[in-house]
Each structure stands twice: as C-alpha cells, then as structure tokens.
Symmetry: D2
Subunit: 260 residues, 4 copies
C-alpha cells in the first residue's frame, strides 16, 4: 500500500510559531464528581489545544479527539491535568490547554415548604500544563441570582425593581475547591438566590428576602470579591456580574479582577 | 466559449415538489419608513424562498440575492410585495416567501425628567405572494417589557418580584399598521414599559407604576389579545410572552393565537 | 396561620382562554433509552405547558416543575405521555404539551481505520395529550452532514465547494421509531456523514465519497423525503436543510412538509 | 420638593475598587465613515464602563446612556476617544472603556461576471482612555472566508473538503487603519474569499481558486500574522481562526498573538 502524504508534518518556513492550535466546539458526555460524593453526568462543550513550533506546518487534529476519548470522560479536579499532559505526549509542544464547559446540577430545598428541586448552573474547567511540569487550573462558575436595586428601593414609596443577574466567578486556588462552594459564594452575595420549585409560602419568603437585601451590580461583585479575599485557598479571582435590568433593555455590568 | 453545464435546470425524477427553497441568514442594510414620516436605517437578517415543482432539480440561488439588491433596500408596507413578486418572475414557481428581521428604534421620553433616549425593539416582516396574485403579510414585533408578579405582591409584606419579559406579537391586518402602534399595544399591556434613559425621579415613577400594575404572564398575553380583539384592522394575531423570572432560572411562558 | 392569597385561582373576566401557559427554558438531566438497549444520560432544555380556560386568572407554575421532577427524568417513547398526562391531573385543562431538547450521542466507527468516536446530534421530543385521551408525538432529529455542490463539481475543472449542513427532520409515526434510525435516514441522504475521529485513510475515503455524491440542498431534503415516503410507519414528516455555504456568508435552505 | 436619596453617592467601606462598571448589551444606531469616503449606517451593540474607586458605593448608570446619545452616533477612528473621555468627565474615575460591535458592509464584485453585491462582516471598536490622557484603540474584524484542507487534497484522488471559516483579527496600530484593509488581509490569507452574488462562471472560478490555494487553520493564522508583521503601522495583533469543518461536527481552531 502506498503511504499517504503527511502534509501536517511538512516543514514550514514562515518562521511563525502558533500559540494554540487544536479543536473547539466538540460536545462530549462527562461525569463530574460532586461534593456529596456522587457522580453526576453532564454534557460538556470542549476545546483542546497545544502550541505549535515555527518549523512544523500543522498539528494532527484527530489525536486531540482520541486523547479526549481516552482521558476526558471524567472531570475530577485531582486528575484534571491528565488530559492536557496526554496531549503533550501525543502531539509534542510545550503547552497544552483544555476547556470543558458544562451544566451542573444541585438539589436545592425551598426555604419554607422544604420542597426539593434541581437547579442548573454552568461551570467551566480551564487547565493549562507545560512540558516542564507546571499546571494552571482556572475554575469558573456562572451563577444566576436575583438582584434588587437599592436606589429604586430608597426612592420609591412602594416596590423596587429587581431582576435576574448572572455572576461569572473564576478562581485559581492553592488547593482544590468544590464547585458547590463557589456557587454558594456568589449566591450569598446577591439579593436572593434562585430556586426551581417555590410554593406560595416560599415565594413570599424570597420576595421579602430580596427586598431586605438590595444590591447594586457593584455591591454584588464587591460581596463576592470580599468573600474571595477572605478565603485562604483562593490566590486569584475574577468576578463579573451582569444584571438584566427590568427597567431597561440593556444590562448593568461590573467586574473586579485580583492580580496574582 | 463553452457553455457551463446548468445542473439546476436538469430534470428530477423523484417526483417530490419542494415547499420552499432559497437563502437564509443573509444580512442586508435596509431603510424603514416610520410613523414620524422619517426613514431609519437598520440591518436586516433576510430569508428568501420560492416553491420548486417536482420536475426541476434545483433553483438558482444567485437570483435571490440579485432580487434582494434590486428590491430589498427599502422596507415599506405599501411596497412590501414587490420583492416576492420579483422572485416569482426571476425564478418561476407558484409562491414566494420573504422575511426581514431587524432592530427598530424609537425615541422615548422619560416619564418625569423628560429626557429622551433611543430604545430598540426587533421587528419581523414576513410576506408571501402567490402567482395568482394573493399577498399575505405578517408583521411581528418583539417588545421587551417589565412584569411584576401579582401573587408575589399579594402575599408579601414588602416588595414583589419583577423582571424583564419579552412579548412576541404577530398580526395580519386589513390595512397597514404602524410598527410603533403594535409596540405600544404590547407596552401598555405590561406592568411598565422600558426606557433607555431614566434619572432618579423617573426610576421612582417606573418602580411605582410597575408595583401598581402587577401582571402575570397570563395577564400580559390576555391584555394584548384584548387590545387586538378591539382593533378594527387586525384580522389575525398571535401573542406570546416569556418572563425571565427573577426568582427562577427558568421562564414563565404563555401564548394566545386567534384563528382567522 | 393566615392563608396566603391565591391570586392565580381568582376569576378572570376578560373572557379570553389561553392556548398554552407554563414554563420554558428549564434545564433538567434526563436518561434516554437508546437502540443498543443502553441508557444514556443527557441534559435537556424543557418546556411544559397546558391550556387555561377563560374563567381562571392564572396557572400554578410550581406544579409544572414538581411534575417534571416526578416524571421527567427518563425519556422513553413508550412512557413519553406520562408527564403531560400528569400535568393535566395536577393543573386541569384540556391539553398539555411538553418539549425536551437534548444532545444525543452515538458511537461511530471511522470508515477505513475502524477507530470509534462519539458524535453528537440534537434531538427534540414534543408530546401533546388531550383530556379525552389522544396523544400526539413529534420526534425531531437535528443532523449535521456534509454536502458537496453538484453545480460546482460539474462546472469546475478541479475540486467542488462543500460544507457542513444541518438537517432538521421531524416525524410522526404509527409506531415508535428509534432516534438512531431517523439520524441514519438524514445521513444517508447527504454527500457524506460526519465523524469525530478520522485518520488520514479515513479522510481520503470521506473526501472521495462526498465528491462522488454531490447533493444540492434541494436533493438533500428530497432524499430524506423519499426515504420517509417509503417508510411504512412514518405518517407525517417535515424535513428542512440548511447548508452553511463555503462560498457565501449566507446559507442555502429548503423544506418539504408532508401533510397528514 | 424633597430631594430623592442618592444611594450611589453613599460611602462604601468594603475597600474594594471596581475595575469596570457600566452598561452592556445596549443597541444603538451608528454611522461609520468608510474608505470610499462614504458614511454607512449600522446598528451597534455597545458596552460602556469606567473604573470605580473603593470609597464610592455606585456609579450613575443613566449618564452612560446620556453620553452615548451625545457622542456615540458616529464611529470615526479620528474621534473615537471622544466618548470615553466624556465618560470620565461625567462619571469621574481614572479609566473609561467603550466597545462597539456592529455589522459592516462592503460592495464586492464577482470575479468573472462582475456582478456587484453587498457582503457583511462584523467589526468591533474597543477604546480605553485614562485620566492622564493615554488612549488605547483595538480594532477587530470578524471575517468569514473559505478554507480548503491541504491534507485532504494531497491524499484524495478527487476533491478536497472545504468549509466556511471565521477569522477574528485584532490590531493596535501607530496610525489609523481602514476596516476594509484589515478585512482584505484576512481574505487574502484564506483559500478563497466569500461573495454574496456568484453566477456560474464565478462559482467555477472560486471553486478552482480554493482548490489551488489549500490552507490549514494553521496556515490561515500564519498568513494573516505574516501580513501583520510586514505592515509598518501594526504594533500588536491577535489573529484567531475557526474552521467549521465539513467532515466533523466540531471546529478546527488556531490563534497567534504578537506581544507589544
């Protein structure tokens, strides 16, 4: 049999290394180990890349998918570097970067009725390893919350505008953190957390809780930042919040990033 | 010069006519004539299709784009059938269907301060003409509004959850209607309309107005339906509303469609 | 304890029934029974609605979520009517409608190397039941495929433009159909099916297969329609295809719907 | 009249400054001055932020919208710093950041028939000014192109898989650059550029041109990088490319960033 030409392995003379090359937008079923010592199944959208030195024309795309099938089915913070390390073995290069973005579920109990229901939250794992052995892990939670406007409450005789907001909270830490704990830090920083099942007694409770805890988008990111500053294991964070204002057709937005 | 083969014009023996074939997802700048007798420029996402009889293998895709360039730059309800009629001339067939989806702007004055600001709203024109001369025009406005929950207000000692909602209101009418008038019907049916510029005096006014006018998603679609029922020119409508609940991570939804 | 006011149960005098009211955009983990007699876990986006008679002011939103938690965790065509029937019991009304939209995975073997890899495909279950006992089930698969342009091949001395396309294929059937079989009908109708892992020998095979099987978007929907016409259990179908043309920044589109 | 409480102006004792706070997701009509000395109207999605010192509780959101109405209607690289400077005047702070993301149209002539048609391309202006007078301007073009796989061409007896790809090309420059010139750098780096109108003679030409110019996603970003390296005014760039592979349901991706 004739050998098929290996175009990717040809030499390249443009003398331009590539920072990251690989695949993006691939969906893959994953198991996530959660705080309750249970495994939950989800579906991740995956990006896998390595760097490419100047002298090589191309990478080998199919090897990314093969590595994913071998190492990518279980997301566990203790073994999260296995897949990018495997990419370096299969593909060469000095750095490998992997991202998994997936919905994560918690069971949450309504505050008065005690009714339980599942509620979702997006999570992103971003891991970079280098050939000399370093690992960087950035964990991000995307937490929907309720925010009630302090200004609207202060100036109005009755009521106050409130809305759903989205907190995007990324951390790097000196030891593994639970997804659930990061979500809680965002939820506690808002006017009220969200629920999937609320009976009338619960709806009364969350309405009043939100009214009693007004936060601007500025307060929301500061509250999360204060919690992150106080956490002994968090060495870097970035917290963004976006409120889908109920009085405007645009959003209020704030971000704080702590330098390492 | 050799004639290039015209594959599309070949015969097809599968005996299956095609309901609609053409192009989709094409962006095009358009001028819209508005109620204030001004022309506003916007950018539409366009879909253009015709039917294809069973005996033809394919349509001629480039002619859709040529017709759009000739007839599609101005959206005016009085001439809206010109483009689909031109498609029938260029492409043959018994039916042509065109859709334009675009952001539309109104200048809106804040309720107390009188500050003016532009606010956007998506609009869709869907027009179908037949070779025997009939024209069907469906006009849709996508109107963001504020909704405040009557149950939350009734059971809570203070406050009430509220949120942004989206009303999707489609009509067919016996005479041309202004986009602005349809938007107003949706806005008047909500707890409060949205603004782009609100000073503190305005924020107090809209907060209290929303609190004084609680509506469920059910009330919202019924209020729009009642207005549509009372309008002498509206012969068909469909009204949908989706509330991005500030207490849940899911949405409340309702729809009413009036049969012709 | 004081009884909390039940606003939803109040009378309504607008005399306007609501076609569908409920919840939308809720994500929920589901198990799907597949053709290989295995269960796969996925995450669905869910919409649940019932009709509301004119005399009632509102529905009870929390009951939809409670019903989902009780009946919605397993998607099986044999028991798919359980959830909407439960909605009718909990909420009253004459019709209940449920929709689940989720990614579905198959293991697919590369054509020459035999390497196996998972590939995803979106699926939608839409079920409507009525109080008098009828059930309507519409199953939709969203199948990505490759299409190679017959005209481009016929007129060009070398090469032919090709691209990813999306087939949206919905059916109603007289007996349960497997998701996998519907996907196969769409894949066989295209120039070539897609794979997640392709080694060089495979890439040669799929490139040549696509070149040898050119299809217009018109051919693609007709090929699926012909297969659906020939299937004894399919009583209704709608097949749409959209090609993300590699020579344009817009898409080619076609649709065929068979009336019942 | 009683003074309404100014909650935003209250003191804050959490001692946490905010990097950016403001508004996001606001749509606004804009005029863009193009290379042909014409003005084209588009619709931008806008984000406007300033930093907030630790001692202030909140910013004043309405002033962002007022500044936008005063300065934001015309996008011209020569006056692009006016709006963020105005934000610093109205809101205080040490840094202001503005972003406009909008579709931009060019008229493009088909290569053989000479037929002209408009084709769209997204563009982003990101401008940051500081209170001490510095201005940073990052211009990004999102350019759809065609890419044909060199490996598929080399190993296959006939045909080669190709697809639409998206180049995201950002630059900082020592003098103003035209949007049109950046788009051209991306288009010339691909297998072929895209068109809105192509007659059969044109389709033959672009099919063969793509076949004669195969590029991997790696080649595409390197070709753009080489052009950017050679451009005397470009002092920084980042070029990303994503190919919507016609043989996979995932994308090939590469990025090169030049440090300043």
């Amino acid at each position: 049999m004739l050998e098929l030409k290996d175009t990717q392995n040809e030499a390249d003379d443009r003398q331009i290394p590539i920072d990251r090359v690989g695949i993006k937008g691939l969906r893959f079923p994953v198991d996530i180990h959660d705080k309750n010592d249970r495994t939950q199944r989800s579906v991740a959208t995956v990006a896998l890349t390595v760097d490419l030195p100047a002298h090589l024309k191309g990478t080998h795309m199919s090897r990314f998918v093969e590595a994913l099938h071998q190492d990518g089915g279980v997301l566990d913070v203790r073994t999260i570097a296995d897949l990018p390390r495997d990419l370096l073995v299969r593909l060469g290069g000095k750095k490998a970067h992997v991202e998994f973005h997936f919905p994560f579920f918690r069971s949450k109990v309504a505050p008065v009725s005690g009714k339980a229901g599942l509620i979702d939250c997006d999570v992103r794992f971003a891991v970079e390893v280098t050939a000399d052995g370093s690992t960087d892990f950035e964990l991000t939670v995307f937490v929907p919350v309720a925010t009630l406007c302090p200004c609207s409450k202060a100036i109005s005789e009755r009521g106050a505008h409130n809305q759903r907001g989205m907190v995007t909270f990324s951390v790097r830490s000196s030891e593994p953190l639970w997804i659930e704990d990061l979500i809680a830090m965002a939820e506690e920083s808002a006017s009220c957390e969200l629920y999937s099942v609320l009976k009338r007694t619960d709806e009364k409770a969350v309405t009043e809780r939100a009214y009693d805890n007004p936060v601007f988008v500025e307060d929301l990111v500061r509250n999360v930042a204060a919690r992150a500053n106080a956490h002994p294991a968090i060495v870097w964070y970035r917290v963004e919040a976006e409120n889908f204002e109920s009085i405007h057709n645009h959003n209020a937005y704030a971000v704080i990033e702590k330098s390492i």
